[in-house]
């Protein structure tokens, strides 16, 4: 198992190149090109601001920022999972011709998402400042929360990417699952808006815990729940180990299935 990780580490240059290839080619040919990386979250913010200040009224102060402080990380999570689900099948050409640790493919998707998220902060943080939510000492917890999210996302991505090779339906099922999960993770509304009876769903939902932590830092400007974060971190690490085992078991059969 350690050997697998060493092998992946040896291919870090390829990993780096894959990530930068994805970022470079995503907007290739468009007029704004790389600028879209920033334009995308900016436009999203503008749309939500207009929508929720004029069309729909939410009972939350500065709702667009409430939403936006978690929406970026949600997009990072769901984009990575959905991207990973098709990455092995989509790279059939490469897998059949050259050896490399296949883990690199989902990992590069997740890291690409991470880079995009960090670019998104360039829009989010100034927007928060405009409304008076200034960066503060709790921002120091951000790297930790982000690390936990990366580990968790990576673990799920590894599982999803390897399973999809054998059950192609998973790719489509995931779109539905992600959609449902979006509403069950408290991205859209505060926990107080949820009836007591079903609130437990949110307490045990790792994604909801993560979203709360981001919101604590960005929106409420308070200390995130360190106990929950630590437990989630531990859970994610274990899941990552399991995920890698599953992936390693399945990857030898990829070539016959794609």
């Amino acid at each position: 198992m350690i050997n697998d990780w060493i092998d992946i580490y040896k291919y870090r240059e390829f990993l780096k190149n894959s990530v930068s290839k994805d970022l470079k080619t995503r907007y290739r040919g468009s007029v704004f090109g790389f600028l879209w990386t920033f334009l995308n979250p900016l436009m999203m913010l503008v749309v939500y601001s207009i929508l929720f200040s004029i069309v729909v009224r939410m009972n939350v102060e500065n709702y667009p920022l409430f939403l936006f402080s978690t929406l970026l990380s949600w997009n990072f999570f769901s984009g990575s999972i959905l991207g990973s689900s098709s990455v092995i099948v989509g790279s059939a050409n490469l897998i059949k011709k050259i050896y490399f640790p296949h883990e690199v493919l989902p990992i590069s998707i997740v890291l690409g998402g991470l880079v995009n998220y960090i670019y998104g902060l360039v829009i989010l943080i100034p927007a928060l400042c405009i409304y008076g939510y200034y960066p503060n000492v709790y921002y120091l917890y951000l790297p930790l929360i982000l690390l936990v999210q990366v580990i968790l996302t990576l673990a799920i991505s590894l599982i999803v990417s390897s399973l999809t090779v054998f059950f192609r339906d998973l790719e489509h099922m995931l779109i539905i699952i992600m959609n449902a999960l979006f509403y069950l993770s408290g991205v859209l509304f505060p926990l107080t808006a949820v009836p007591e009876k079903v609130r437990w769903i949110f307490s045990y939902n790792p994604i909801a815990i993560m979203m709360d932590s981001y919101r604590d830092v960005f929106y409420y400007n308070k200390m995130p729940d360190m106990f929950s974060i630590s437990m989630l971190g531990l859970f994610s690490l274990v899941l990552l180990v399991v995920a890698q085992r599953i992936f390693a078991k399945l990857k030898f059969r990829f070539i016959e299935e794609i």
Binding site: K10, E13, K21, L94, K97, I98, Y99, F100, F252, I255
Partner: protein, 436 residues
């Protein structure tokens, strides 16, 4: 692993599933509970060998024998079902040149991308990039997107990257089949320089000459198994003997089928002849392509046998051969008959031709008989030939002339060129020879 061994292959077996119908969706799997209908085919069975560091080995065998699968297992693209492969050192493979190129990226960007798939760090690539570009002979095109490249440029770039990875072990699959002559020469000389640098190489090619010249040891794989290995010259010879034998069998089977067909055809012919006896007489005389003559004497059968008297399609260079020409003739109407033979290359080039008149052989025919031409040494270079036989009057009026009465092959281990073998020997006299 023992020291001094670069590649150790132990009892490797690999099977492929050949699916007839493959359920790929969850629904299919759950509802039908089937894994699809498939047949298992072992493409490699119990393969074991070691490659010592710095040696070059070659894999030969017919298409589909499992050579490429074995190479893919060595590169770790495929996993063996049984057995194990141990490899010491960095492996670079020339299996699929240019796999992983991104069409929209420039040549330079693709060098970084592609070299990193081989496991190179950015620093290493930085150090080599100029050499890679120079070797690929791309000049200023290196800054253009790869999609604008000609296939030659594409191949040169891919090859250049693959050989600059600075591998300890190089796996090469039939790269000589692509590219022009100049490129092939470049490949070969690069392989030679790798060899002299003490790299370990596994090489697959159908060019037996190159294999024999470059490899230290050859493995002959036939139907998923190693049937022979050892000194290249010997393995190549046995392999070629085997190929010729199986070709011989194929041709014999073919000619048997043709013979049965002809027999059947004759029966039909007779039936037809009875029906319309008058018309047939004229049609019979129309000359078929490749055969003409007034048929006063008819060549009924032509065979070619080796020194053991066996009828064959393959003959060893320089060995005795006898041609038998059986005929049936209207003895009374024939006078001054001449029999002739001609041996041609498949492109129609006449290698040798003679007849009984030229050779001053007087022949008088019976109603039936056999003319025998004994050739003491079949001194033709290896290749495919055909034989014309003829029977005609001394003044040239043809009784029966058959072109391509049969085709045959001459086999040889030497790679001489031309038409005929001229017995020769080389003598070298050094600088001490007097110039008097």
């Amino acid at each position: 692993m023992m020291s001094g061994i670069a590649i150790k292959v132990s009892n490797v077996s690999k099977k492929f599933k050949i699916f007839e119908d493959k359920p790929a969706t969850l629904k299919d799997r759950i509802i039908f509970r089937s894994k699809g209908v498939y047949q298992e085919k072992w493409v490699l069975r119990d393969i074991s060998f070691d490659v010592p560091k710095g040696k070059m080995i070659g894999l030969i065998g017919r298409n589909g024998s499992g050579k490429s699968t074995l190479l893919k297992i060595l590169t770790r693209i495929l996993q063996p079902d049984k057995g194990s492969v141990e490899i010491v050192g960095r492996v670079s493979s020339l299996l699929e040149l240019g796999a992983g190129f991104h069409m929209d990226f420039t040549g330079r960007e693709n060098i970084y991308m592609n070299a990193s798939i081989f496991g190179l760090s950015r620093k290493e690539i930085d150090g080599k990039i100029d050499e890679i570009i120079r070797f690929a002979e791309l000049g200023p095109f290196i800054e253009n997107p790869v999609r604008t490249y000609s296939s030659g440029m594409y191949m040169r770039l891919a090859f250049s990257i693959a050989v600059h990875v600075d591998p300890d072990i190089l796996l090469i699959d039939e790269i000589l089949a692509v590219g022009d002559n100049a490129f092939q020469k470049k490949c070969i000389s690069r392989i030679e320089s790798f060899k002299s640098q003490g790299k370990t190489i596994v090489f697959v090619s159908h060019d037996n000459g190159v294999m024999e010249r470059l490899c230290d040891e050859l493995y002959w794989i036939h139907e998923s198994e190693i049937v022979q290995h050892g000194e290249p010259r010997k393995v190549v010879r046995d392999y070629m003997d085997f190929l010729n034998d199986s070709e011989e069998r194929r041709l014999t089977e073919e000619s048997e089928i043709v013979a049965t067909l002809m027999e059947n055809a004759e029966i039909v012919d007779i039936a037809e002849k009875v029906e319309k006896s008058e018309k047939t007489e004229k049609t019979e005389k129309t000359e078929k392509a490749g055969r003409w003559g007034n048929k006063l004497a008819e060549i009924t059968r032509v065979t070619m046998v080796d020194s053991k008297g066996e009828e064959k399609h393959f003959f060893d260079k320089g060995k005795p051969v006898t041609i038998f020409i059986a005929y049936a003739a209207l003895k009374a109407q024939i006078d001054k008959p001449v029999f002739g033979i001609g041996i041609y290359k498949m492109d129609g080039y006449c290698c040798y031709g003679t007849n009984t008149h030229i050779d001053n052989e007087k022949i008088s025919l019976d109603n039936t008989g056999v003319i025998e031409v004994s050739i003491e040494n079949l001194n033709l270079v290896a290749g495919e030939y055909y034989l014309d036989v003829a029977c005609h009057h001394e003044d040239g009026t043809p009784y029966d002339y058959i072109t391509k009465a049969l085709t045959f092959n001459v086999k040889s281990y030497e790679e001489e060129i031309g038409v005929a073998y001229l017995a020769h020997q080389w003598v070298h006299k050094g600088g001490n020879v007097n110039n008097e």
